[in-house]
Symmetry: C7
Subunit: 86 residues, 7 copies
């Protein structure tokens, strides 16, 4: 990941398709006002609860979108992340 997030920020790539987890199936919600699923690509030095590779549920409207290598990514605060899929 070319961009290193600062402080407690996290870079997330939104997941559009179903998420089969050990404990159940999470179906992404297209409605942006609902929490969204995604994969953590990079976590800042102050992050304590998430790390690159985690699949997470994050708050609606979290962070800012930017594009890198043609991919739409989101950079947000760790506190915007609601939970981690087991």
């Amino acid at each position: 990941m070319a961009l290193k997030p600062l402080n407690d920020r996290v870079i997330v790539k939104r997941k559009e398709e179903e998420e089969k987890t050990a404990g159940g199936i999470y179906i992404p919600d297209s409605a942006k006002e609902k929490p969204q699923g995604g994969e953590v690509l990079a976590a800042g030095p102050e992050c304590q609860t998430v790390k690159a590779g985690d699949t997470v549920l994050f708050a609606k409207y979290a962070g800012s979108e930017f594009s890198m290598d043609g991919e739409e990514l989101i950079i947000m605060r760790e506190d915007d992340i609601l939970g981690v899929f087991a």
Copy 2:
């Protein structure tokens, strides 16, 4: 529960029907602007007053709704939970 809530967050499944408790009958209020009843499915590592399995009363408009295995769940902060049914 496939989703582990972070920090002080709690995952709750709303209870639609009457709640017979040792001390009295709680009748869920359909009006969303009133406190709602529900069951805690998972509590984050920083939660101190509620745990999975508790039946609780939570504040109106608390948290965000998301779906898992076709179930409508709510993820909220512990502070949104008003009381626990004995």
Copy 3:
């Protein structure tokens, strides 16, 4: 009381009739924008100034209403309680 309030929350039953106290008569004010009288049914573990059984004056618009055993009750923060009738 079947519902145990959490933290500094208090469950109060509104008093509609006159309150004869050792030091004077408090007449409840029907206007909801004025402070209201009521009896404390249960106080959370962090409450320090009120307890079950106290008759209190509480701030207008305090807390949320919910029904239990057909009774309209209010759950509020301890700080919403203005004073205790001697």
Copy 4:
């Protein structure tokens, strides 16, 4: 006074007439948006600068009005009290 104010709250009875003090005459201002004069009837356990019996000037719109023994009283925070008449 039948009602014991909690924490840093103060119960005040508004003074309508002139206040002759050792150091000058305070003329109450009928306009509610100006500071008002009054007598402290009771002060909560956390009050440090005013006590029952003090004649005080308090901020406009301070606190909430309620009636006790047919008297219109105001319950406010100590910080709403601007000064004490010598």
Copy 5:
């Protein structure tokens, strides 16, 4: 001064005329949205930078006006006072 200001409050009498000081002439600005000049009549026990007798510049819209002995006075927080004329 009959009224003792509490905490960090200051009682100020607005100065309408020019203020000749050792270091220059301050001309009061009639426009109320500009800082105003005045004399401190009394300072509360927590005040550390101004005292009775100081001529000061204070922020626009600072504090509340009240009348004492027919004089229009202003009671404000010490932090509303911008500077002291040498």
Copy 6:
């Protein structure tokens, strides 16, 4: 300077003309919504990063304007000052 600023306040005289500095030319921006250049005339006792004589860039809309000896001056908080010209 006849007026001594209190706490962390600074008195600044706006600079209208170009500012030739060792490292480059700063051209004042007439548009008030842009940062402005000026000279510090006096700094309060709590100021740590600016002193009288510094040429500074300060935030748009910072502080309050007042007149002294016919000069339009601005009194602002130290935190409104963005940078010091070398």
Copy 7:
């Protein structure tokens, strides 16, 4: 750089063209409501995560624009900087 930013402030020159980095290509987004790319020209004494020479992604609407030597620069808080390009 003629202007020394104070405290935790950073002076940034916006980058309009593509940013080829070791780890990928960042394409600046003309839309101002999206995060922007730029180069740090100077960082204040309290800055801990960025330094002059870093290429960074900063929050939309961050800081204030000013001109120096005919260049449009932005002065912002360090916390407005989202990430540093490796």
